[in-house]
């Protein structure tokens, strides 16, 4: 049965549609973890999450529990969270500081921050003449095959082969450039702790939603309308409503035809960009003060270039969705065929005035918290989507919107003008999926 399905995987994806089993079959999910998530570059975290030697953060890559740790000499390692002795989990807390070395809570084997065996209790008497000891690499904590970072964002790959990080990211690097460039100091800093939201749906459903420009006007209409009414009331009363209301009301006031003015750009490896931006360059005193700090750091011309970068979302397939102008990202951790964890992080622009941080924090809370008016409705639809796919009512999931109007240019696929709601990003993701799964 399994063999037959694997052989048939290529038939699951057509240019404008995908078989529903791709989302619901547990065996396909296992294969995805092997052939995609445990091969490619997966985002682990930001360097500022582990500022001091011994600081660590646990992270899931595919099915592997890993940890990202800062060594004494400052280098960051990504290790399997497992003692090589009897398999005990090394760090039980989600994050913390391990001190000068890791120490297993079971038999006190200790390891350096880079995973190398440091000591075993009474090693000489206990292991003389055995194959175990410092010279045996199997006695060290296993490391991720490759670790690289880009502008402070750390990625790991569990496979030796494959493109280097910069090549893998390609044009999607703009996500990190745009986020960091908007900081007067040229870098960002993590806001400690993230939302950890469970989706009762397949991981691909979330990624496909991220650049789906048609859904906001439908899914978030209720919030957009309510926010629009409140925004008008506050404006009448005080002359100016806080920007957070505008960010919410935009879900209703940016109509479908306006979303069509945006553009999607689709790249190799499944990465996609949605350009266009919800008009978030206001002229209030906070923004003006912030732009002054940018001009001081970069000069007028460069500042204009930085602020002109016009991105709504960057999707780095298969595990990351970045909203760079709002300093936030969502890392996708598939837990099972119908269960996905998203870790949603917020960043501070180093050197920017405090009100800019507070404003993006307000937006981040309002949109991403599991209790928000936005995310809760998305979660409801992801769940319903996965439930519906169990039905024999149809075999295919369709990605046909504006199909046939994509323009190939320099190795990328652009949507034609006024096709911002195109399903080209979903087609691009599934194209990459099929390539990975063919391996």
């Amino acid at each position: 049965m399994l063999q037959e399905r694997i052989a048939d995987l290529s038939k699951c994806v057509e240019p404008d549609r995908v078989r529903r089993e791709v989302y619901t079959d547990p065996e396909i999910f296992e294969l995805e973890m092997q052939r995609i998530h445990e091969q490619v570059w997966i985002y682990c975290g930001h360097e500022s999450q582990v500022p001091k030697p011994g600081d660590y953060y646990t992270v899931q890559i595919g099915r592997q529990p890993m940890l990202m740790v800062r060594g004494a000499e400052g280098r960051i390692s990504v290790l399997y969270n497992r003692c090589p002795h009897r398999g005990n989990m090394m760090c039980g807390d989600r994050h913390g500081n391990t001190g000068e070395f890791f120490r297993c809570s079971y038999h006190a084997w200790t390891f350096q921050h880079d995973g190398r065996l440091r000591s075993i209790p009474m090693m000489e008497s206990g292991y003389a003449g055995t194959r175990y000891g410092r010279d045996n690499p199997d006695c060290s904590m296993k490391r991720a095959a490759r670790v690289e970072s880009y502008r402070g964002f750390v990625f790991a790959s569990l496979a030796q082969g494959g493109p280097a990080l910069a090549e893998f990211l390609g044009a999607s690097r703009v996500a990190f450039d745009d986020m960091c460039d908007r900081a007067p100091a040229g870098e960002v800093e993590i806001v400690p702790n993230c939302f950890r939201v469970i989706q009762h749906s397949n991981w691909k459903i979330f990624l496909e939603n991220q650049l789906d420009a048609l859904h906001p006007s439908v899914v978030h209409q209720s919030t957009g309308r309510a926010a629009h009414e409140v925004e008008k009331q506050i404006e009448k009363r005080t002359g100016k409503a806080p920007l957070s209301y505008h960010m919410l009301s935009a879900f209703a006031t940016v109509t479908i035809d306006k979303w069509d003015n945006f553009q999607t750009l689709n790249y190799p490896y499944g990465h996609c960009i949605l350009t266009g931006y919800m008009g978030l360059r206001p002229k209030d005193p906070d923004t003006v003060a912030y732009e002054k700090t940018l001009i001081k750091a970069y000069g007028k011309q460069r500042t204009e270039e930085i602020l002109a970068v016009n991105i709504h979302h960057v999707l780095i397939y298969p595990g990351l969705s970045v909203q760079s102008p709002l300093q936030q990202l969502r890392a996708v951790r598939p837990l099972g065929v119908d269960r996905t964890l998203t870790e949603i992080w917020h960043f501070r622009l180093k050197g920017a005035p405090e009100p800019i941080y507070r404003r993006s924090l307000a937006y981040y809370n309002l949109v991403n918290s599991p209790a928000t008016l936005i995310n809760a409705d998305d979660l409801e639809n992801f769940w319903k989507c996965h439930q519906g796919l169990a039905s024999d009512g149809g075999d295919w999931v369709s990605f046909g919107r504006h199909h046939g109007h994509d323009i190939e240019k320099d190795g990328a696929v652009e949507t034609a003008p006024n096709c911002g709601t195109s399903e080209a990003p979903m087609r691009n993701q599934m194209k990459a999926w099929a390539q990975y799964m063919r391996a």
Partner: protein, 152 residues
Amino acid sequence: MNVEQFLYHEARLLDTQQYEAWLELFTDDATYWVPLEREQKDPFETSSIIHDDRTLLGLRVKQARHPRAHARLPLARTVHQVGNILVLKENEPEFLVASTLTLVEFRAERQRLWGALVEHRLRRTSAGLRIAHKRVDLVNSEGELDGIAILL
């Protein structure tokens, strides 16, 4: 109405889905906070699950009544079980009151259980007791969370 009766009244309004009447219990300058971190000191050092002023709280209620509020149609049925009520500080006209909340929620064939430590800063006004600040510390605030489409 004494403090204990007031908290039961608040819970009753939520469980009978009288959200507009519940909103009226808050003062105009009220804040409503569900921190993300245990012992979080302020709503700005890190993120919050909810950090609303009275206007945003009103927006929540308004959205819940919209015919296309997908996660709230139908509204979940809830039981807010309020216990361990303790007046921590009396400083007329305000009181700081601690309580615990056990919340049972049912919606879409799923029953869920929530637990939280709660603090109310209540203010005695000419209209009776009102909530000036409410803080809800979910025991699993830092855990993996499902969507929360109910009022705590």
